[in-house]
């Protein structure tokens, strides 16, 4: 049991931190520009594919540096020449723009790298097990994923709270007009934030790519979960996104371990439910079986009962 708890916690934290790398950029972009970027997970996918492509020529490590930079550059260009042009038509136009972009990226990725998963390998230097506990090994690469995302989180935190750039970004978050009046180039700040957000997503892609299968469906399967994180955490709240990421990471991992079903819960109350009862599988499905939809249940509940999320300061 202890073993299950320890490893589920580790894996949950790992998954949560990865989610945070993505959600942090998404929430920064949203709070600053008011753009809910549907294509955010696409930049995560681009990161994985760029990393893969670079790794084929010069190995994994250069990819870890250059893929996020490249994708960040692509993101900045998208902001400069795409979003900024659409901006004057309002938020709905921006939303639709990113929505379309997500499909285009997926199609382009399929055309360039094919529809089947690419063989993105864990670097040899990390292809061993970090430690063994209860006869279960924990791969070094997972340890690396965890440490990388924690380090990025700390870096981001310092950047935002301890530097001048961070100061301007924080100010632009809430009062873009005043920041502009003070002589700062707000559009440039927007472009940089969008680029950095995309770069962070790409970093998550390079870290996760070798472990979680680099394939054209990876953006579409992760995208919806990101919105859950951002909404549950509170739109525009970085700390909220952090808490929500870890929460959802842990929920998803621990849910798999639980075999309790509604029928089990009702049994002590004297209610016997079987597959043949009205409702059928609804009673028999275990928590483990419904694990993938639990975050969405959370999304719905949060929207009803706490529309500004766990830590947000404005309504969704």
């Amino acid at each position: 049991m202890l073993e299950l708890v320890i490893f589920s916690t580790l894996n949950g934290l790992l998954y949560g931190m990865l989610l945070f790398l993505l959600a942090s950029g998404l929430t920064l972009i949203f709070s600053m520009m008011g753009v809910l970027n549907f294509a955010h997970a696409s930049f995560y996918m681009l990161g994985a594919y760029f990393g893969f492509q670079i790794s084929r020529y010069v190995g994994y490590w250069p990819g870890l540096v250059f893929a996020p930079l490249l994708v960040g550059g692509v993101g900045a260009l998208v902001e400069r020449f795409g979003l900024r042009a659409v901006h004057k038509h309002g938020h709905v136009a921006e939303l639709l723009f990113t929505f379309g972009l997500a499909f285009i990226v997926e199609e382009v990725v399929q055309m360039v790298w094919g529809k089947i998963p690419v063989d993105y390998r864990i670097p040899d230097a990390l292809n061993f097990s970090a430690f063994t506990l209860f006869e279960t090994t924990f791969p070094a690469f997972r340890m690396f994923m965890l440490l990388m995302s924690v380090a990025t989180f700390l870096g981001l935190l310092i950047l935002l709270t301890r530097t001048r750039v961070g100061l301007i970004i924080q100010a632009a978050l809430t009062h873009p007009n005043i920041v502009g009046t003070l002589g700062h180039d707000v559009p440039l700040v927007f472009m940089l934030v969008f680029g950095v957000g995309c770069g962070l997503a790409a970093l998550a892609g390079v870290i996760a790519g070798p472990a979680l299968v680099t394939q054209p469906a990876m953006a579409a399967s992760l995208g919806p979960i990101l919105f859950v994180v951002v909404v549950v955490g509170g739109l525009g709240s970085l700390s909220g996104a952090f808490v929500a990421s870890l929460l959802i990471g842990l929920i998803q991992t621990f849910a798999v371990a639980l075999n309790i079903s509604l029928a089990d819960v009702m049994a002590p109350l004297g209610v016997t439910l079987t597959r043949e009862s009205f409702g059928g599988d609804l009673w028999m499905a275990t928590v483990a079986q419904v694990a993938p939809i639990i975050p969405y249940l959370l999304l719905v509940l949060v929207l009803i009962f706490r529309p500004h999320g766990l830590m947000g300061n404005r309504d969704t």
Partner: protein
């Protein structure tokens, strides 16, 4: 009408004529549509299966084709692994003039296709379609949901589970079993059969886990592996295929999970590599109609030439003897019927006896249109003539179940066309 419009019109007319000509040429070909996942979580095996089909079609054509010189032609359609999308693709294939379709990955899609074809044939007499199933093994397809237009070349899930549990019966070291499978018709069938048969053959064995997970959606099985480890199981039974098999084994390899695996499809893409990585030498078992180390000069040479042509960097070789049986029997049925009319092909196929490339007798049972053939239980590990995915490890036969011993009754009440 000015000159430019005339020019455009003339060009268009010419293009149309050219298209007609090219259609005319390919109309001679007998098309077989391959409707399987070419994107999504099963794309890797779907793509590899397509190479199988292409290789077989090329082989038949190189030997002079069928019915005195007509060529076969494989056409691929991506069903994305989904039953709904399969029907869209079947319709597309029919619209393109295809009368024979084949599919194998996923019983959900298989049942949808079989029902669609049955309905279509009822409404369009004289334009019948045949559906050749090389791998979807939900027993329902040849029992309560059987159809005259559906033919299956793989042993159904109940037959495979009976063979696996017969083998497990005598292995006294098995005490705790964990069952994990995909949450759809086939996964349910495997789990149901495993529980029932273990209870009957090994009542002392404890089932410590009975798990269903979403089909082809999971990219990280680590939480499931953690759970299996914590359950104290010494054996896992799974019918998983595609990414669900290779990623499950990969997560097990990462966690260093040391136990025995009783599987249907551990040999699929990525499986052998993961098994070697964990060091599970001869601890992963598979039930299949063939593996590369079944001695047979004809099949060995055949698999070898496929590996040379399509193996590539991954070193993935020939997987499906059943697809070879299917295409060889299809060709034989065409020749026997002397026509590509699906009705006559079906009549020739439904009670065909066929000696396969291993020199073993197989037969199609007319009551449910399923093929019976020898089945092999094998384990994966060191030694052996041929290896898989360049691991240096290969399959080794542990037991053979003769075709007549795989026959189980069917509840199929087939509606035969008048």
């Amino acid at each position: 009408m000015n000159q430019r419009t005339m020019k455009t019109l003339r060009a268009a007319a010419f293009a149309a004529a050219a298209t007609l000509v090219s259609f005319g040429a390919s109309a001679q070909n007998i098309k077989i549509a391959y409707i399987d996942p070419l994107s999504g979580g099963a794309a890797t095996i779907g793509e590899h299966g397509l190479k199988h089909l292409q290789f077989l079609v090329d082989g038949i054509n190189a030997k002079g084709g069928v019915i005195g010189g007509q060529k076969l032609e494989a056409v691929a359609y991506d069903n994305k692994g989904s039953p709904q999308e399969s029907l869209v693709q079947v319709q597309k294939a029919i619209d393109a003039g295809v009368r024979f379709i084949t599919q194998g990955n996923g019983s959900g899609a298989a049942i949808a296709i079989s029902e669609f074809v049955a309905k279509y044939n009822e409404r369009n007499p004289g334009k019948e379609i045949l559906y050749f199933n090389y791998a979807a093994v939900d027993p329902a397809l040849t029992n309560e949901k059987c159809s005259y237009w559906h033919f299956r070349w793989d042993a159904n899930s109940d037959i495979k589970m009976a063979a696996l549990t017969n083998f497990m019966k005598d292995r006294k070291e098995i005490k705790k079993v964990y069952i994990i499978g995909q949450d759809y018709s086939f996964g349910h069938a495997v789990r149901g059969a495993a529980v029932a048969m273990l209870k009957q053959k090994r009542p002392d064995v404890q089932i410590v886990g009975d798990e269903l997970h979403p089909l082809l959606k999971i990219t990280d099985f680590t939480p499931y592996i953690t759970k299996i480890k914590a359950s104290g199981a010494d054996s896992v039974i799974t019918g998983n295929w595609g990414n669900d098999m290779s990623l499950l084994l990969k997560a097990a390899a990462d966690a260093g999970l040391q136990l025995n695996w009783y599987t249907y499809y551990a040999g699929g893409a990525g499986g052998p590599t993961a098994i070697k990585q964990t060091g599970l030498d001869h601890r992963v078992f598979q039930i299949s109609e063939w593996h590369t180390n079944v001695p047979s000069p004809e099949m060995e040479a055949f698999a070898d030439s496929f590996l040379k042509k399509y193996g590539g960097a991954s070193g993935q070789g020939w997987w499906y003897l059943r697809l070879k049986n299917q295409m060889d029997m299809f060709a034989q049925a065409l020749n026997q019927a002397k026509s590509a009319d699906p009705l006559r092909v079906a009549a020739a196929l439904r009670d065909m006896k066929y000696k396969n490339s291993l020199g073993a007798e197989t037969f199609m049972r007319p009551t449910d249109h399923s093929l019976f053939q020898d089945m092999y239980i094998s384990s994966f590990g060191s030694g052996g003539k041929y290896d898989e995915e360049k691991t240096g490890w290969g399959w080794k036969t542990i037991g053979v179940i003769k075709s007549q011993d795989t026959v189980i009754p069917t509840s199929c009440k087939m509606k035969t066309p008048a």
